[in-house]
Symmetry: C2
Subunit: 219 residues, 2 copies
């Protein structure tokens, strides 16, 4: 059975050495090489793309997420494992979005790192417990936001105002709205002004976004 070929990208020599020390005794792995920047990384892997790229988020010339995007596009056979000291939800989400197959914090154990490598090599995804918890929290938050968003602030508009906002956000121009509702175009304008003042919106753009956020119209 052929060995799992690993490539390391981290801008700290010590970290790379540490990871190598952890992995050196694993017989089914082989470290193809290492790089301390995005540029160096792409230069080196062009010769022989690894099975797994272990990647730090913060790098001198770019960041792990951009590298992940390029890898996903240019080397779809290479799978990315993010190893980062940052466990913030945005980084995790964007890493996954960019195509990363796993995410570990830097204080992970040798066992977990090996588990991750094997899982990813076998086509699975791997997230450490702490990362999973963050992802779950985020999942719960998103689900709740999905529900709460429309109720965030009770809509302080009158029925007539909502009617006009709806028509406007659907794309009708003032004249069409005034015809539809059989009122003067001036009245339509006044209603819109009232809405903008009430909601403290500074532009019609925000008005439309408000209508979308509050599900007065579909996108």
């Amino acid at each position: 059975m052929s060995k799992i070929r690993i490539f390391l990208v981290d801008d700290h020599q010590l970290v790379r050495d540490g990871i190598k020390a952890l992995l050196i005794s694993a017989e089914d792995l082989i470290i193809l090489g290492e790089a301390s920047s995005g540029k160096e990384c792409f230069e080196k892997i062009a010769l022989e793309p690894p099975d797994i790229l272990i990647l730090d988020i913060s790098l001198p010339d770019t960041n792990g997420i951009e590298i992940t995007k390029r890898i996903t596009n240019e080397y779809p056979e290479t799978r990315v494992l993010i190893l980062s000291m940052y466990t913030n939800e945005d980084f995790i989400f964007n890493s996954v979005k960019a195509g990363a197959r796993g995410y570990l914090p830097k204080n992970t154990s040798r066992e977990e790192l090996l588990s991750a490598i094997h899982a990813i090599y076998n086509g699975e995804e791997f997230f450490s417990d702490s990362i999973s918890r963050i992802m779950l929290k985020s999942y719960v938050r998103k689900a709740k936001e999905d529900d709460l968003a429309p109720q965030r602030g009770p809509i302080p508009l009158t029925t007539r105002e909502i009617e006009i906002l709806k028509l406007f956000a659907e794309g009708f121009i003032n004249k069409e709205i005034s015809d539809k509702l059989d009122i003067s175009i001036r009245t339509v304008e006044t209603h819109k002004n009232h809405i903008m003042k009430k909601l403290e919106l500074k532009s019609t753009v925000e008005l439309i976004k408000y209508a979308i956020r509050n599900k007065i119209v579909e996108i």
Copy 2:
């Protein structure tokens, strides 16, 4: 210390008895009552709302998600634990969205059920391993969709046009855009016209919606 008050809702007598049998020996719990339908549930808990409502998704007259919504609104002190044979992602997402604090499959163990009850009673959330895995998968899928969605239709705009559309959809007026980009207002207007023509949009409203749909701006 007062006992954790539990109420069971499931349309199968056997399941309710099974759960009761599992919980009866736990000294810090007390089963307040049980119901086999949504109607019966609300009639009974009106007298004494429980701390935790253990709820099946499928019920004869309604479903657990609707009950969860009502509970969340009408009895915010009562926390809902979903116990369901369905582990499909939509049910899980909608349960969380409706306000459920935990979700367990029906083949869960006594230990896990007790862990879930205690976690939820302490204000935490609890999802069994199998449910967590489904949520994580969903998280990953959503993150990927988030990335793929904008590629649905290739955006036929030039970089300058996208730049201007982005600023416009962020709420900047033409003058601000022309200042930012150090070009004439006329140019900004021309770009916007080109965009509208290319995309066959009839109003700025549609322009903004286009920008949102294609993730050029956030809502």
